[in-house]
Subunit: 149 residues, 2 copies
Amino acid sequence: MISQTAEYALRAIVHLATVASNGDFEGTQSPVVLQTAQQIATATQVPLSYLSKVLQTLARAGLIISQRGAGGGFSLARSPDEITVYDVVQTVDPIQRIASCPLGLEAHQDFLCPLHARLDAATAIVEQSFRDTTIAALSVIPNFGEPEN
Amino acid sequence: MISQTAEYALRAIVHLATVASNGDFEGTQSPVVLQTAQQIATATQVPLSYLSKVLQTLARAGLIISQRGAGGGFSLARSPDEITVYDVVQTVDPIQRIASCPLGLEAHQDFLCPLHARLDAATAIVEQSFRDTTIAALSVIPNFGEPEN
DNA sequence: AATAAAGCGGACATTTTTATCCTCTTGCTT
DNA sequence: AAGCAAGAGGATAAAAATGTCCGCTTTATT
């Protein structure tokens, strides 16, 4: 459905949102919401070196903020409820709508052939679903509904 | 949204359905509904050598019938209204539903994390859309609604 | 100022997808 | 039976996606 790269980007963003909403994470009692690429990689189980590229892309797009140097890391650039799945996916691996018949048929200039009309309709639904889903709706509240035991 | 291979497979199947419903096609007055790989490649604008592989896959899956030797070619194995987009896509490039959290998190054993629940929900919608769309609904009736000029 | 931590960016490697080519087999036609 | 048209299948190639490595720059800390 979505590429590995988009999957990784979403995991990273959701992780950042989750950490930001908690203040700390996984035993780290630092009040700072900066997460290093290494921390994100561990939490999301994404290869560090590849994740770094994805994070750079997200930073360049203005979805996250990167802080270089010792003590640096990444944090969300906006509130999780102001970032959508669509924003993330479009940044790293854009959804391609079918605007014109790939066959370039004369008869299909102004309206898509049934096949591509259907395929684009499915794409449109996915796109809308992604637009409607904010990262805030996806960030996990730890231990929600689970007994402490 | 779908891979090139799935796109090519759909074009080929829709083409076969269209030809079969017409009896002839593009000046060919043969009563036979067999189409050579070359004919399909030309009509669908897919590279012949690659298309051949895709057609073989569709034939092995029983969606189309191949006839070897001179005068051979391909035809649909079933009526276009008994073949769905889903059948075709699953044959060449299956839609992957997300059955369990890719992170393998303990807390997400029995229910997907919000992210993957959403992604799978989008996948499910697409899957259902493909199941609901028959090839018959996609095969083009030539000159439909177009003046002869 | 020196050191170390951490992101940046370019080059390279691997894997998967897409595409091509060539030979073999099948089966129609003459 | 010979010849030819056409699919089957293996080997190879090219392109794109994914993943790794390493040196450079930035910045906090001592």
